[in-house]
C-alpha cells in the first residue's frame, strides 16, 4: 500500500527492539515524571517559606533549566555525571562500570527539566489563591502548615492540573532526546532499525504512531484526574 514496505516488522529481532524501546521510553518517562512532580512540590513549597536565600536558589534553578535546551541539559548531564569517575564493581561480571549509566543521566536531566517547569506551574497555582480564602482559613485557626495542606494545596492542585498535563506530555516527548546519549529507548532503536533496513519513512511513521498512542494515554489519564478532582465553580466543575 502506498509503496510502503513493512515486511521487516515480521522479523522477531526488530520486534524485540521495538518492544524494548517502548518499555525503556515508558520507564524513562514515568521515572522522570514522578521525580519532576516531587521536585515541583518541594520547590513550590520552599518558595512559600519566603526565605531569601532559598528563594534565590530555587529561582536560579528554575531559570537555568527552563531557559536552556533540554538536549543541551541532557548532553551536559551525560558528559559531566558519567565522567565524574564514580565507578562501581558489577558483582555479576566483576567489571568496573560507571555508577551513573546513560539511562540514569537521562532520567536525572529530564527530572530536573520537568521539575523546573513544575515548580513554575505549582507556584502560579499557589499564587492565584484568593487572599480571602487564606484569611478565612487563618480566622478558623489553621496554622500555616495545616492551612497549606488542607486548604491551599488541594485548591492549587486543581488550578495547576492543566499546566501539569502540558509539562508531562512535553516531558514524555523529550525522552526521545535520550537516544543522543545512547539510551536504548524507542527513538534509539528506531534509528537502529532504519540503519539496518533503510526503511526510514516506514519506521518513522510507525514510531510516530507509537508516540501518539503513548502520549494519548498520559493526556487521557490526566483528563480523568482533572475530572475526578474538579469541583463546581473551578476548572472542569459545573
Amino acid at each position: 500500500m502506498f509503496g510502503l514496505d513493512y515486511s521487516w516488522l515480521s522479523d522477531p529481532a526488530y520486534q524485540q527492539w521495538l518492544l524494548k524501546g517502548i518499555l525503556n521510553t515508558i520507564e524513562l518517562a514515568a521515572l522522570s515524571s514522578c521525580a519532576a512532580v516531587i521536585i515541583g512540590l518541594v520547590g513550590a513549597l520552599a518558595l512559600t517559606l519566603r526565605i531569601f536565600w532559598l528563594d534565590a536558589i530555587v529561582e536560579l534553578f528554575v531559570e537555568v533549566f527552563r531557559n536552556t535546551p533540554p538536549l543541551l541539559q541532557m548532553l551536559f548531564a551525560y558528559f559531566t555525571l558519567s565522567t565524574l569517575g564514580l565507578k562501581v564493581t558489577d558483582p555479576s561480571t566483576g567489571l568496573s562500570v560507571p555508577l551513573l549509566s546513560a539511562f540514569a543521566c537521562a532520567s536525572i536531566s529530564l527530572s530536573l527539566f520537568g521539575g523546573a517547569l513544575a515548580i513554575e506551574a505549582f507556584r502560579s497555582g499557589i499564587e492565584t489563591m484568593p487572599r480571602s480564602i487564606i484569611e478565612a482559613a487563618r480566622s478558623l485557626g489553621y496554622s500555616r502548615w495545616s492551612r497549606f495542606w488542607k486548604v491551599e494545596a488541594p485548591i492549587a492542585a486543581r488550578i495547576c492540573l492543566p499546566a501539569l498535563t502540558n509539562i508531562l506530555t512535553n516531558l514524555f516527548k523529550t525522552t526521545s532526546q535520550a537516544s543522543v546519549i545512547t539510551v536504548p529507548e524507542l527513538m534509539y532503536y528506531a534509528g537502529q532499525i532504519y540503519n539496518d533496513t533503510f526503511r526510514t519513512l516506514e519506521v518513522m511513521i510507525l514510531v510516530l504512531l507509537i508516540y501518539v498512542s503513548l502520549v494519548s494515554i498520559v493526556t487521557f489519564a490526566m483528563a480523568r484526574l482533572e475530572r475526578w478532582m474538579a469541583f463546581p465553580g473551578y476548572g472542569k466543575g459545573h
Binding site: E135, R138, S139, L140, G141, S143, I155, F231, Y234
Partner: protein, 248 residues
Amino acid sequence: MNRSDALIEIDGIRKSFGTFEVLKGISLNVSKGEAVCIIGPSGSGKSTILRCINGLIPINEGFIRVGNHRVHEMRSEKAMRPLRHQVAMVFQQYNLFPHRTALENIMMAPIQVLGHDKAEVEDRARKLLAKVRLSEKADSYPGQLSGGQQQRVAIARALAMQPDIILFDEVTAALDPETVKEVLFTIRQLVEEGLTCVLVTHEMKFAREVSHRVCFTDRGMIVESAPPAEFFDNPQDPRTREFLGQVL
C-alpha cells in the same frame, strides 16, 4: 461599663498601612452578650477594626484584650489558635472553601484545628445546617449555592467553632435584597440567643432593631457611640448627622 467586665477591650489602637494611618486611636469595649454595630463611610477602617480583634493583622500601637487573650502581644499564628477558637469571623465574600461541600466546610476546622471527634462534629454540623435552614444543601459545593446560601453556610461554619464572639464584616453587602433577609434573620437569632456579636453593616434598619449599641467610624476614629434609639434619633456629632442624612 466596668472595663474588666468587658469581653472585648480595645484601647487606643493605631494601625498604618505604609504611611497611611487607617486607625487613629480606636477604643471600644464589648461586654458578653452584647451586639455592637459599626457603621461608617467606606474606607473609614471598619473591616480593619474587626481584623485587629482576631489578630488577622497586627496593630502598631494600643491594647486589645479578648477574654483572657492579650491580642496585641501575640505574634505567631500558633499562639493565636485559642483566640481564633473563641472569636469567629464571617466575611462579605463568604470565603467558603470551594473544594469542599457545605457540610465539609462546616466540619473541617473543628476536626482539623480543634481536634474534635468526627462523629460529634458531623452531628453538630448537621444541626447548624438545620439552624440556618439549609439541611438539604449539605452535599452541595459552594459553587452550587446562591450568595445567601453560601453566607448562611459561612455563618454555620463560624458557629461550628463554638465561639464566644462572632465578627460579621458586611455580610449582606454582596447579596440581593431578598436574600439579605434570610441572612439577617439568622444573625438576629444568634443575637437573641446571647452570642456576643460585632457587626459591620450598611443595614441601618437592622442595626437599629438588633444591636445594643451603634458606633460610627469616620477616618479611623470612632466619633460617636450610643444605643441605637439615641444614635439614630438624636445623633450628636455633625459627621454622624451628615452620614445618616445620606443613607437614611
